[in-house]
Amino acid sequence: MAAVMPAPAQSRLLLSGNEAVARAAWEAGVRVAAAYPGTPSTEILEVLATFPGMHTEWSVNEKVSLEVALGASMAGSRAFCAMKHVGLNVASDCLMTMTLTGVSGGLVIAVADDVGMSSSQNEQDSRFWGRFAHLPVLEPADSQEAHAMTLAAYELSERYQTPVLLRLTTRICHVKSLVVTGERVEHEPKGFEKDPQRWVMVPAHAKGRIPGMFAREEALRAESETTPLNVVEVGSDRSVGFIATGPAYMHVKEAFPDAPVLKLGFSYPWPAEKIRAFAKGCDKLVVVEETEPLLETEFKAAGIACHGKDVLPKQGELAPQVLKPAVDHLLGRGPKPAAPAVKPPQVFPRPPTLCASCPHMGIYYTLSQIKNIIVSGDIGCYTLGAGHPWNALDTTICMGATMGVALGLDKGRGESDKNKRVLAVIGDSTFMHMGMQGLLDITYNRGNVTVLLLDNNTVGMTGGQATPACGKDIHGKPAPQIDLAKVVAALGVNPERIKVVDPYELPVLFKTIREEIKVEEPSVIIARRPCVLIDDFKPFRPYLVEEDKCTGCGNCIEVGCPAIHVTRREKAIKPSGKEVELAFVNIDGQACTGCGLCVQPCAPDAIQHVPVTGVPIHVVKTGVQS
């Protein structure tokens, strides 16, 4: 990543799509760039933060990041904003009105769709926003194109005074390919021009902007006919032609090297005349787009006969091995695609796990021991609490949803849930992103919810980015630090019901949760320990298992730590006559960082520190701070 910044112009670098977009945004003279981390888009701002001559920030959520970018554009600066697909849902309120104001300084929104869903809660197609907001959509097919289209997007943005959507997918963001870099060209901001008819979107002003928005869309449609971003490749076998966008273009070229292809880099508004002319030259036309049949539906409505999702899947990537058999079948050249012929061997699943010493383990181990609770969850590493061995998370929807869902579970409960207690789990960053409003709703509407606010001092799942509560900015420099306990109090939680605990101290954690769920008013338990993957985490002296003392009870395995391994299993008969399976364990000394979570459920005291000196021991305390 570090190689992107100091590289001079005309360097030939192996860059991910994210790195290429960042480099191009810098070359385009961007002065303000904002984002909230989200896979697969996170690295764009991480890289931009290493460049000089611009303000970069982690915003608290995507809506705020887009508003920051819009404000910078109003001031005349070139501005940039990046987010994952679901982030644009959050930012859409701003988007749907900024399409009316348009922009002053060029403004590009990179939106990264997680096609294939490697790390997301849904697989939505962000190209819809181009239609909804009447904005141009550019779709690169690899890193070099991501670089070129980012530069083209700024030129378009300023020429048409429009925000531009740069639509990326996981297979663009995280693929590395060769990119030739360019120079940075400075764009001095021309200054804010007072113009209430344009910038103050009250009904009278906004009504007047709508015709301009449609006129802009028509002008962009004409631009789309002539832009070099939409390219026809003639091909030698005209039995089938393809219209392809984004990474699907590469898959088409791989699977059908001789076919004619119309590659739409400028995919909305699309060039109707170009497409009609192209369609005439092919016996059959197949639209290859990830993921929804957007272009296909629009083409059909325009009377252009084509195939698309009638033969191709509506979800996931259209890799050559998916594309080839489906189109061959359409052409009568092969059987209907079936499951892959070579069956993969049966190997156990290896789901992501919480790290050794992860503070969330203490939370979920404790929740797994408490009966008659419903636990609403949220987006982050702590979503893994829904998995084995804890099975201690009952819902996950979207950023911040834990609060509203918990309140609804409380208010909507039927007779069968009468005695159940409702808990809401949320991470520190997710709380600041979209959870604060939900907590306010709980206090205002007298909800009976116990909130577990897991403060690990970072955005963990995306790789450890800074938050307003960690005391550092995007560059790692000191920044104003907000106090989460004070925020919670200000949102209306009774100060007596705000507890701060150490998630490594299981007895205290257990007691605190048990007490708070009994109270008939909102409580917030702030569990505070740094994520083990950030610099704030300092490892403690590791543990080992004294083999002769281990009784094989397996209690420690229930903690869920990946450093604990079973050495042998035995069957034994209890005095009651019941057969039990014993699992004797050891601890991987390379992985253990001495949190002591597994020590606490170990009845025979078999887990002891390794005999080394110089590494501090983590002492389990018993007091409760408030």
Binding site: R12, L14, T39, G116, M117, S118, S119, D142, R171, H174, V175, K176, S177, L178, P247, M250, H251, K253, E254, A255, P257, E317, A319, P320, Q321, P340, V342, K343, P344, P345, Q346, V347, F348, P349, R350, P351, P352, T353, L354, C355, C381, L384, H388, P389, M461, G463, L533, I557, G560, C561, P562, I564, H565, V566, R569, E581, A583, V585, Q590
Partner: protein, 204 residues
């Protein structure tokens, strides 16, 4: 240029093992030889000990970054069960270079699943050409467990369409700023990796 002139290498393992870094070094070596290169991962939540595969394709002009199943030329496996998981992606004459490491996840420790018996044997039984070795032990003998990844790169060095020294140069470049001692240790690890796969008869 035909599609057959594209080299397909699949590197597999689990999050935190260095799969992505190793593939990046292989990619740099291919670039230095004048190839077009694409490298892609499926590593959603890889940092958390999940499955990681890194696809590396290089040749005159690479289109799709993904390697189609059944077309992998060399599978470089950082772990036994993970190598078995991806062995089906090998083309019929493909080669699996497998580090015999056994990394057992919590779902297996909990007794929910079994770790496969003899993963290397199963890959071989499926008709693939396999060479197995123990990168960690080799690295330990060299006095530094962190040399394991360079041992892995040494193992693949004689199975690339360019001379091993091309790969070694990229490793040396990467460690140059850490001083001559570290560079020397990596040179030894690279040589040990090469030797490890040449000593074992590559029975199909």
């Amino acid at each position: 240029m035909s599609k057959d002139s594209i080299t397909n290498i699949l590197v597999c393992g689990i999050g935190g093992q260095g799969v992505m870094t190793a593939t990046e070094i292989l990619a740099e070596a291919a670039i230095a030889q004048g190839h077009d290169v694409k490298k892609t991962e499926v590593a959603g939540m890889a940092q958390r000990g999940g499955v990681v595969t890194s696809h590396l394709r290089f040749g005159p002009k690479v289109l799709s970054p993904q390697i189609a199943p059944g077309t992998v030329g060399v599978l470089l496996g950082f772990e036994g069960a993970e190598s078995l998981r991806w062995a089906h992606t090998l083309r019929p004459d493909g080669l699996a270079l497998v580090n015999n490491a056994r990394l057992v996840p919590p779902v297996v420790e909990l007794g929910l699943y079994d770790y496969p018996e003899d993963p290397v044997g199963q890959i071989r039984a499926a008709g693939h050409h396999v060479v197995a070795f123990d990168a960690l032990s080799i690295a330990r003998e060299l006095g530094e467990v962190r040399l394991g990844n360079t041992v892995m790169l040494g193992a693949i060095a004689d199975h690339l369409p360019f001379p091993p020294d091309g790969l070694l140069e990229c490793i040396v470049k990467r460690f140059a700023r850490k001083g001559e001692k570290v560079v020397e240790a990596n040179r030894r690890a690279f040589a040990a990796g090469r030797a490890a796969v040449s000593e074992i008869p590559a029975t199909a």
